[in-house]
Symmetry: C2
Subunit: 645 residues, 2 copies
């Protein structure tokens, strides 16, 4: 297999953007150790310094319009951001806060006057900003934020205020030290009427770093990781900002205090505004997948040189990677990393298709909701995968893996929060399932396509599905899945991708139909809607996950088929099969329970996963080489022997 | 339920020792924040200072003989050590190195001259020491250590030497800063002949803290956690120590250079020496279980006050702990923590029974091997449980869980290494399985009861089992398991503990028999023994785990039955049922594959786990109260509202 060819295939259309960031990381390799040797304050300043240097190289504005110094290249922007995850993750997160969230909110929620006044400064790193959404009391449920922005027509100002301790802005990146301005999400109150959550630009620090009057800034203190990012808390005490501070792309308040919006439904308006911020989730998912690549590169190279115990009579002990258990622990995770890589690439393509044009929100609302669900699902699976993979890699390297110098522990600590930031993963999978359940609306009756929160709250009381219709669907599914009677030849077709896809599709659709039926039944029985939802919550989340698993699997299958000549696609197919069968193996209880696997076939799958581990093992090193992680990030002491060895 | 009564029941016979440590932790509560505010060097010194204070209070020598200032109370010693895990874990680990490992090695491997010269100083914290076993190149495979100790009869000295970079002592607690002496494990060479690994006392620092001549000491640098412990590396360059430095309980070298040992077989001698160190594994397992209690106390109290989303029309949002998914994530882990607690208590009782008397090694060798397996298994499951539980608790607390002030992140970082130190968990489960496989020796033929490493290496070539005998065994098992035809009434007997135990016993015995058969077949077929073992390695480890799961389950069942009046034992039974059924649920694919569950019953188990979560939920708060974690360890900002709220 040609590693170069495979690496180019993985890098895809945004290879140049990725390589630029790789070069930047290599040039700033000393940052990788900065978190260990510096005090927290020094580390934060060092991260800022490198971020501003990277900014000067022009990467960070790549995704923004040309008139503000950008290149209008959304796909390259995201690819570059993902690649930052090969380096120091505090740098990546700080850049994400500044350019993705802060500048992104100005771009997407503001209008030309905001763009002209702030965007160039933000993109060139002169105006450092915060994205002040989350509060101490509300993270997942953004619609219930407590901060208020009340319009005062006498002075044509908004008064931004923190009414309770729970409404304090919390965990806000750039708030503790560097941020001068914040995009603040608050309940907009105009003429005594509440219009829901909107976003305003609020200065929080003077140019010499002092808090603005009425603004209290505190430090969140040390964290498990990402200590190069200055997360802090913001409390507003009747802080006045001009009327123009409202980011008014979707809603306007005129001087007299008249509120207007082209989107009449408040829920729809809220989700439209939030929808423009999907880029954050797309980026975090990609970053998590790339962090997994770093960990696997380290752990697999280590396992391919570290020896322990071994065959009697042989001169050497055995390599860790020759042990079945070690293969079992690492290689399915390697295969899954490839699968998620290709799923992420599909997601980025779709993101560029939808957001790459001009003002597309109204034209493609359906596509946009689908994109949000895909982003939510990929983010959830990608970040959980990172947590699991990095943990496994750490354990697979024993005590050496626990030392900071070998980087796995830093990766683990830094990525850990990914599972709950930019949307808690369990909440995100509910969002995915909710989107899919609306596909049952023909049989279900009307189900408001917006508003996860409302759905959770059980307001979807109009559900009017015919039970028989759903039963028919389930029976149709049962007949459609291949190899139903597999006991006679349990190995037949196990490496057929249509078989894998058929099983995963069956599971997804069966779970969705079953959840829909349970929800319908509960509501028919007069159970309180919240209780109806809550009784099925684990089922809802499992259904969301089943969907994303299927999407990820098919993305990998598609990528195997599309691989150009020169890539040893039979080897990529081995890796795909390992991923597919390990995924089915993990859910084989469900397939057994639903008559989709015979017990003989279930056991055959376990054996084949073992065999495929052994098949992939000889080129596992090449498969991690193809990730193209810069040497500085992976040439750690335990992998590269010191001169003493 | 009476929390006081339950807490006393959990504390068991060593309540006084536990309470003493609880009081000490409360008195030194400031140490819990020390790791955050201090430099690494200051934190290490602070930990030493508190350790010496705790030492002065007499707890740390509790397990040692009275003539050296101890109390001869092994059980209280372990219980106290476990309780240290409610506080700063660097303190616990440093105390473990000093008193458990360093002083323990002197006690168990040395003779009266070592005891008299060093033990009192070690136990009173004046002589700080290291346990120098692990090397850069060898952690799990201790028999292959590279350090040498060569006897020089001319001077009556041993020459301790590090021949290769891989033989450098690594990750050694107390080595980087505080240790003055080390118990060094080295290949003993006498008269040109190698006698295997033995232990010697080697001074490594002068009283004013300088390295001894020929000793090079370096710092392992920052770690993911436990940064209050000064782990370091030791290299010996022809360091000479007197002949009396050999800890010579099991083997002696006389002045002329004659080696003698009452244990002739070198493997048996090695495992006997190592066996005396089982206390370390017993202690780490217990500490990990207690760290889980801290995390669950924090996360469950948080979930019982934090609200997010909720029922429409209701004034409040819903409590996190009322969500099914949240219950599903936390409550089975709570139940499992109780199960492991009782299994650990049984292990400690057994440890005290075997080690509490005088010089019991020869009398109870069989019991001792069984104890080692039980300790290995409980350590593996307990430490993996801690990793999983603390991770889940962190995620269940979202961004707040990531902040150091809320302690979950510190717990996570500090406990992470437990899965691989004091024996890598996968290697330990192999050890468990190996011990069990020797129970098949009647049918297997002779299998050396010692020597995991040798077994792994496939030297057990004399296996001569009759396949038919094993088949018969499996069939007998199949008929013995209850409720084989359960499809007619899938709910019947699901809460019967004999049913749970029967299923887990069936699984354990079936897996062991099947592994034995596979090993036998491979060897009969002439496959290279290492390859035979390696092909089954995942199966071997799963069998070891199945055994430990059964032991843990039965310990919980026994504890429910033995609960005194005043404990609401029906509630304890609910919790036990939750643990039992969640354990079966996790392995239901296997039971389906082996005809032990019908699909209807498998689904019924899933439903019942959900129901039991709801049953346990109202008293989950009382169940964590009963752990008796001191307030300082769990009254974190996110749980105890600040005055601003």
């Amino acid at each position: 297999m040609s590693t170069t060819g495979l690496r180019e295939y993985l890098d895809g259309p945004h290879k140049a953007a990725r390589d630029l960031v790789r070069d930047g990381l290599a040039a700033n390799a000393e940052l990788l150790d900065a978190g260990l040797g510096l005090s927290r304050a020094e580390y934060r300043d060092k991260v800022l310094e490198v971020m501003q240097q990277v900014t000067a190289e022009g990467h960070t504005s790549r995704g923004f319009p040309k008139e503000f110094g950008g290149q209008g290249d959304l796909g390259g922007f995201i690819a570059g951001f993902e690649t930052l995850a090969f380096g120091d993750l505090s740098l990546m997160v700080k850049a994400g806060v500044q350019f993705g969230l802060f500048a992104g909110a100005i771009l997407h929620l503001g209008t030309s006057r905001h763009h002209e006044e702030y965007l160039t400064d933000a993109l060139e790193g002169r105006l450092l900003g915060c994205f002040a959404m989350t509060e101490t009391g509300h993270g997942s449920n953004v619609q219930a934020l407590g901060t208020t922005a009340t319009y005062d027509p006498a002075t044509e100002e908004f008064v931004v205020h923190t009414p309770t301790a729970a409404a304090r802005k919390d965990y806000i990146g750039n708030a503790a030290r560097h941020g001068r301005m914040a995009t603040v999400f608050a309940q907009l109150v105009v003429g005594g009427e509440r219009h829901g959550v909107h976003c305003l630009l609020v200065p929080i620090r003077t140019t010499d770093g002092q808090p603005m009057p009425g603004v209290t800034l505190t430090d969140c203190g040390p964290k498990l990781g990402l200590n190069g990012v200055d997360n802090g808390r913001i409390v507003f005490d009747q802080v006045r900002v001009p009327r123009t501070a409202l980011l008014d792309r979707y809603a306007q308040v005129d001087a007299e205090g008249t509120y207007s919006s082209e989107i009449e439904n408040p829920d729809r308006r809220f989700f439209t505004m939030l929808g423009t911020l999907v880029q954050g989730r797309v980026s975090v998912g990609g970053a998590a997948i790339n962090a997994s690549k770093v960990a696997l590169t380290i752990a697999i190279r280590y396992a391919d040189r570290r020896r322990q115990f071994g065959a009697p009579g042989s001169a050497d002990e055995a390599l860790l990677l020759d042990y079945r258990m070690h293969q079992r622990r690492l290689l399915p995770l390697l295969a899954r990393t490839y699968a998620l890589h290709f799923a992420q690439a599909e997601l980025v393509d779709e993101f560029v298709r939808i957001f790459g044009g001009e003002d597309v929100v109204d034209k493609f609302e359906h596509d946009q909701r689908a994109l949000e669900a895909q982003a939510a699902g990929t983010k959830a699976l990608g970040t959980w995968h990172a947590t699991e993979t990095i943990q496994m890699c750490r354990e697979a390297c024993g005590g050496a893996g626990y030392l900071a110098e070998n980087r796995l522990s830093t990766l683990k600590a830094d990525t850990d929060v990914f599972t709950t930031f930019e949307g808690d993963n369990t909440v995100l999978l509910q969002l995915v399932a909710k989107g899919l359940l609306t596909n049952y609306r023909e049989s279900f009756g009307k189900l408001d396509p917006l508003g996860m929160a409302r759905f959770i709250a059980g307001q979807a009381v109009e559900i009017a599905v015919e039970k028989t219709a759903l039963r028919t669907l389930i029976e149709r599914l049962r007949d459609a899945v291949p190899n139903r009677n597999d006991a006679a030849d349990p190995d037949a077709g196990l490496r057929d991708d249509a078989y894998h896809s058929g099983l995963l599709r069956f599971r997804e659709e069966h779970m969705l139909a079953a959840v829909a039926r349970r929800l319908k039944r509960g509501i028919d029985d007069g159970v309180e809607p919240f209780e109806v939802f809550n009784r099925c919550q684990d089922h809802v989340i499992a259904a969301g996950r089943a969907h994303v698993e299927r999407v990820v699997l098919e993305a990998f299958a598609t990528a195997v088929k599309a691989a150009p000549e020169g890539i040893a696609s039979d080897r990529l197919k081995d890796l795909y099969d390992l991923h597919a069968l390990a995924t089915i193996e993990a859910e084989r209880a469900w397939y057994l329970e639903h008559g989709r696997l015979s017990t003989a076939r279930s056991k055959a799958i376990i054996s084949l996963v073992n065999e495929l581990c052994a098949t992939v093992r000889p080129y596992a090193g090449e498969l991690v080489d193809a990730f193209g992680v810069p040497g500085a990030a992976v040439d750690v002491p335990m992998v590269v022997p010191s001169q003493h060895e």
